[in-house]
């Protein structure tokens, strides 16, 4: 799968550090525009906190809306990082190398963004310190650890801390590299950050062994995070469409689906923006698309199961809910778009190698997937709450307000903004992994055929 390309290391350094050593022309304008959007978002959030949640479109019985949907969406995106860097590292997939760091980065930043939403969606955000910093004795009351809303922050902060440390450890050799390439205050900064990296066998061994060990440790966290998020919904026995035992793996695999797609989107952007055609190559997109086909189909199976067992009970409210979700305006339109974008359009396209190796097409299909996956979360959360059960005396459908939409857009601008800021100081493609793959791949002649081969260390 991985064609062997001889790449001189000096060239590799120059190309992959072009973000840090010299600023691309487009960088400053883009960042400033994004900064403006972010600023607007912050102002809107401030006004909402100041005025109260009346400015949102929430109404009984739909008490959770766009914010929680977007929260789940970003937590889902965050599952890209460990999926790519941990699972593919453990399965020794060679093509992961250029992607890993960008994916982990996406994890960190999307988690940071996701954490904002539960905060601002609460009625009295300034009091949420009570459950983020639970143990102030002065308040004299501990949080209720039986509540899934306590498990959420615990799980997400665990995941965030873990991936941040993971990111930093994998960054060490490249920081050393940057230290060697820079001068002045930058050099000083990188010298401190790289902790005096030299690259002797002991340090490299720690990189490999530690990397794999960390992956193995992050993997269970990765699975647990979205499961716990899903239990926020699944434990509510009174909400048809939420109270399903399949939610945990269903959410996790959906998260992987959207996360890996987001990575594809990002890779395409990186390739275009920084002109990394030598490093992010069609075969990487090809491999990711193959992975995506499997993941998406698995996700479809879970969706099917979820639906089957929703109707399995054959209770009137459940059936009424599904009827609304699929056949009533506007939900039916959303449902159709969701299904088309999340599966029906992209996956059949990915079956063709021509599509898989076409960066532009991959870019757009991956964006489609994420539109669909966002809609999926929306279609689970909101129609579930707009119940069709007895004693619901308001059949008010929920319509998000402009404020909510602004904050929704803000979240995307915010993540991109952080990404670009990071890219100014740290390489987005792990240089040492890139070079390692050069060292570890050789061509073997079998008969007349030249076949790419990988050096596996004997264990």
């Amino acid at each position: 799968m991985q064609q062997r390309r001889e790449l001189d290391q000096v060239y590799t350094n120059r190309k992959l550090l072009n973000g840090q050593l010299d600023t691309p022309k487009w960088w400053l304008p883009t960042v400033s525009i994004l900064g403006v959007v972010v600023l607007i978002g912050v102002v809107v959030i401030a006004t909402m906190v100041n005025k109260g949640l009346g400015v949102t479109g929430l109404a009984r019985p739909v008490y959770w809306g766009l914010f929680i949907t977007t929260f789940v969406f970003w937590v889902g995106i965050s599952h890209a990082g460990i999926m790519i860097s941990a699972i593919l590292r453990l399965t020794q997939a060679e093509w992961r190398r250029p992607v890993t760091r960008a994916a982990e980065l996406l994890t960190v930043f999307s988690l940071l963004t996701a954490l904002v939403f539960p905060l601002i969606h609460a009625g009295r955000p300034w009091r949420i310190a009570y459950w983020i910093m639970p143990y102030d004795i002065s308040r004299g009351i501990y949080p209720n650890i039986r509540s899934p809303l306590i498990m959420d922050p615990v799980a997400i902060s665990t995941y965030l801390t873990g991936s941040t440390l993971f990111l930093y450890i994998a960054l060490l050799p490249d920081l050393g590299n940057l230290r060697d390439r820079t001068t002045g205050w930058k050099n000083a900064m990188y010298t401190v950050l790289s902790l005096g990296w030299r690259g002797n066998p002991r340090q490299w061994k720690m990189q490999t062994v530690g990397g794999i060990l960390l992956s193995a440790l992050m993997l269970p966290i990765f699975v647990s995070v979205h499961s716990i998020v899903s239990w926020d919904f699944a434990v509510a026995s009174a909400v048809e469409g939420w109270h399903s035992t399949i939610f945990a793996p269903y959410f996790v695999i959906g998260a992987v689906h959207s996360g890996v797609s987001a990575v594809v989107t990002m890779m395409a952007l990186m390739r275009w923006l920084w002109k990394w055609d030598d490093f992010i190559r069609p075969e990487h997109f090809d491999a990711l698309a193959r992975l995506l086909i499997v993941v998406a189909t698995g996700w479809l199976a879970f969706t099917f199961l979820e639906l089957t067992f929703a109707l399995y009970g054959q209770d009137a409210p459940e059936i009424a809910l599904r009827e609304m979700q699929m056949f009533q305006w506007p939900w039916n339109a959303l449902f159709i778009i969701f299904f088309l974008t999340a599966y029906a359009i992209p996956v059949p396209m990915w079956l063709f190698k021509r599509v898989r190796t076409n960066i532009a097409l991959m870019f757009w299909t991956s964006i489609l997937v994420n539109i669909g996956m966002w809609l999926e979360r929306f279609l689970i959360i909101v129609p579930g709450l707009a119940r069709r059960t007895p004693f619901v005396y308001t059949w008010e459908a929920y319509r998000p307000s402009p404020v909510e939409w602004t904050i929704f857009i803000w979240s995307f601008a915010w993540v991109t903004f952080l990404m670009l800021l990071f890219s100014k100081f740290f390489p987005l493609v792990p240089l040492f992994e890139q070079k390692e793959s050069q060292v570890f791949t050789e061509d073997v002649m079998i008969g007349r055929a030249k076949i790419p081969a990988i050096v596996r260390e004997a264990d």
Partner: protein
């Protein structure tokens, strides 16, 4: 585990649907007693109105022989309340007198409890409550005025319970049966709403709740409510609005 068995009191209500005439006196009484913000037309249209108790009306049969059925619904104070365990800050929990209490000061407004509640009797304050100048002095001093951003719901007029228990303690006697009346029950002209202590076997409600007409709402959720309904007796057919709704 339920708290009712180790408390001396287990407050509860018996609603005789047969007696309810749908006059909405209970609703008005509740609004006045508990400082509930005025439900303006806008709030009602936006489904943001707050009414701790409501009288639901169902039509049975078709015109001309259509019958109106009424059923008052307030917080059921469930023993296995779905709203309680999901609150991250113990803002709602079950106290030792069988009440499902809402602690306004703890609430941060995640609205998770309202998602859990199948009876839709929990309400969120979207705005700071305001009253016209003329009503400023009509607020009940015993009841907190809820600020924006928190949940509220029927409290079984807990302030009245407290007052009576204070009086009883100072007089050194047990709280007499019927001494505590919620605003709604005292306002009900047909005494369809009856409030009392289920742990006292000779109390009025304890006797009523063993009536063979008794049922609870949405029992498939296993919430074990402290509000017992007595079914409507109909001359021609034996069905009550409550059951019609329950098995709706």
């Amino acid at each position: 585990m339920t708290t009712a068995e180790f408390g001396t009191h287990n407050w509860g209500m018996v609603v005789d649907v047969d007696k309810c005439i749908g006059c909405n006196a209970c609703v008005i009484a509740c609004q006045a007693e508990n400082n509930i913000p005025i439900n303006t037309q806008d709030r009602v249209e936006r489904a943001r109105s707050i009414s701790w108790i409501r009288v639901e009306r169902y039509w049975e049969g078709d015109f001309p022989d259509a019958k109106a059925r009424f059923i008052p619904i307030m917080c059921q104070h469930c023993e296995n309340a779905p709203c309680e365990p999901v609150c991250p800050v113990y803002a709602t929990y079950h106290n030792s007198e069988g009440l499902n209490v809402q602690v306004y000061n703890r609430c941060v407004g995640t609205r998770y409890c309202a998602n859990g509640c199948p009876y839709i009797v929990r309400f969120f304050n979207y705005w700071e409550p305001v009253w016209p100048e003329s009503l400023r002095n009509h607020l009940n001093p015993d009841v907190t005025v809820r600020s924006r951003g928190i949940m509220e719901k029927c409290s079984f007029c807990v302030h009245r319970i407290r007052r009576e228990s204070r009086n009883a303690r100072s007089a050194g006697v047990e709280i007499a049966d019927g001494a505590v009346q919620t605003a709604c029950s005292s306002a009900c002209p047909t005494s369809a709403l009856n409030f009392g202590n289920f742990n006292d076997p000779d109390s009025k409600v304890s006797k009523m709740k063993d009536d063979k007409r008794h049922y609870t709402l949405l029992d498939q959720f296993g919430t074990d409510p402290n509000v017992i309904y007595l079914a409507k007796i109909d001359a021609d057919k034996k069905i009550s609005a409550g059951e019609a709704a329950t098995h709706g």
